[in-house]
Symmetry: C2
Subunit: 342 residues, 2 copies
């Protein structure tokens, strides 16, 4: 059996309706819709076919039909017609984004806010992979005897810091000099190339080996541990509770638990391909707790080689259309705003 024109039409109508209402859709409802000129009985026959083909599920015999994950896949791949955001809306989002543009973290944070507000779902933004960022500046700041704070400013203005031990007897001026030297040697190198640059420095006996060694190991630790909690920002975690899918507290709880585990979240949202928009529906995202969630992600650019990810987590029956438009727009906007800092 194949999908003909009419089956597409009906499936689309069902999905559209279900996305709005979250209630099983009956044949009468579809029949009444404008653009569908068939009686409920005909619709029923088609629905029966669609169910057999795996596009519809029936919660129980006397309920309407519900789109299956297969149906959503078909929908996002072929059926969906993308709608543009109104320029008014773009305006508002852009403005909101700029309101905190004085601080870099603020921009990302408000981006998460804008995303979750605009979609009413939960948003996740992941900072670019640390290793791909380029170093702008390295500064060792004395904070106590034998202790210094190492501050690394990367392009995109993302600041990383870590405490390091320094050898006895180094004063602020020594650290200042070393900072300056490090900045010169490392500037514009991606973080992952740091080890190499360091080994070169270490061959040069003129610098303090112990301090450099410590510094290097701290940077490497940071690199290995990957993006940490502060690099995964969640917006509107509570939005999800608005939907009947999560009217059960237990479901809500396990959903929130996933959001708290930044590690899982990062893995979930980080995307394989360099595609514009990635959509993962239900079980496709491999996390049992999120079996009836879909995750839509896009990426934003920082500098020439670094990509961060922004994504929306919502129920599988989410408004893909709108989510995609919003993500697409915000991806560009975020790239723009962050590029200004370069």
């Amino acid at each position: 059996m194949q999908l003909d024109e009419r089956k597409y039409l009906i499936l689309q109508a069902i999905i559209d309706d279900y996305i709005m209402t979250a209630m099983p859709v009956g044949s009468r409802t579809i029949s009444r819709k404008s653009g569908v000129g068939y009686s409920p009985a005909t619709i029923r026959n088609e629905m029966s076919d669609l169910e057999e083909l795996g596009y519809l599920d029936q919660p129980h015999t006397s309920a309407g039909r519900v789109p299956s994950n297969k149906a959503y896949r078909l929908y996002v791949d072929h059926l969906m017609k993308t709608v543009k955001l109104t320029s008014d809306e773009r305006e508002r989002m852009h403005e909101h984004l700029l309101s905190k543009s004085k601080q870099v973290e603020g921009v990302i944070r408000s981006a998460a806010g804008v995303l979750s507000d605009a979609t009413k779902y939960t948003s996740v933004i992941v900072a670019p992979k640390l290793g791909t960022l380029r170093i702008k500046h390295v500064q060792l700041v004395p904070v106590a005897e034998r202790t210094a704070l190492m501050v690394i400013v990367t392009n995109a203005g993302i600041v990383k810091d870590a405490i390091i031990r320094v050898p006895e007897g180094m004063d602020a001026d020594d650290l200042y000099a070393i900072s300056r030297m490090l900045t010169q040697k490392l500037a514009d190198k991606p973080l992952e190339a740091v080890r190499q640059a360091f080994s070169e420095l270490l061959r040069n006996a003129e610098y303090n080996r112990r301090l450099l060694g410590e510094t290097l190991s701290v940077i490497e630790q940071r690199l290995e541990s990957g993006p940490d909690a502060s690099d995964v920002i969640v917006g509107g975690p509570g939005n999800m509770l608005e939907y009947p899918e999560y009217s059960d507290v237990n479901k809500a709880r396990s959903f929130l638990a996933v959001l708290e585990s930044k590690d899982t979240l990062r893995r979930l949202v980080n995307r394989d391909g360099g595609m514009e928009i990635t959509i993962r529906i239900g079980p496709e995202n491999q996390v049992p707790e999120l079996n009836d969630c879909s995750i839509v992600t896009a990426s934003y650019r920082v500098g020439d080689h670094s990509n961060g990810t922004l994504g929306i987590i919502g129920p599988t029956r989410m408004n893909y259309n709108r989510v995609i438009s919003v993500l697409d727009f915000m991806g560009r906007a975020l790239s723009d705003v962050l590029s200004e800092y370069r």
Copy 2:
């Protein structure tokens, strides 16, 4: 009518039981408890008195009694006997706290995690008021033509950054020189004294007035806006859903909404007095959404003059005892760990 010994005993027994079960407590339950040698009938009489005095509420005639907010107040003020944490537990918490001690924000973040894990409630940690922190280091890092990132390292290693515009034609070396000068002039001054220090600098015509003006205004903006989102860290937001008080999704939602508004949260948790532990029960915290929550806060010290706050939000029937022990311990631990950075 006055509270005699027996009434205290019974009230305490009721509160203890209700804290554990969240179910209205009946006279039989209390009578069976060890330490109370009275029959249910006697207990009932006393309960009736306690209700009249406003210490107990009755959800409906045929249910048991529930402690009122007034009862909790009495409990925390007079009835409660504090229990010590086991040294094993202290050990574990301290260890967990140190695991991320390489990064300052990491410490605060894991502190929030430890707090919420140890208490099973929601934790909030607020960084010290910006103005009271002392400047350790100021660095202007060029990020683009006419744009620089200003990084301010304060004591306690807390790093603040902001984008500023710089006049045309300044290169990295110029910024380096200015950074060095600024660091020298501002070091160890609290942030709130910066305006004064700047006006002195500005009188000196030798420095670039426009740049200094811009820098000052950015710092002032930061100061005025108060601690921002990244300075309010929430741990275990989902923990609250474990309790029957929040088995209603709507309540859960409005609770989560409060957690999202970092501003309200900060106001809520920031304490008036310099008291060791502050407890606000139910309506005492002035936020309608949190009418049946209690907030317990303690403070941690950063440097000599700055105080941050750590707090627990839980249902009014929370285990005050344990919460207080945990907060007390963590307050000290946090002060210790952060003081090491000085």
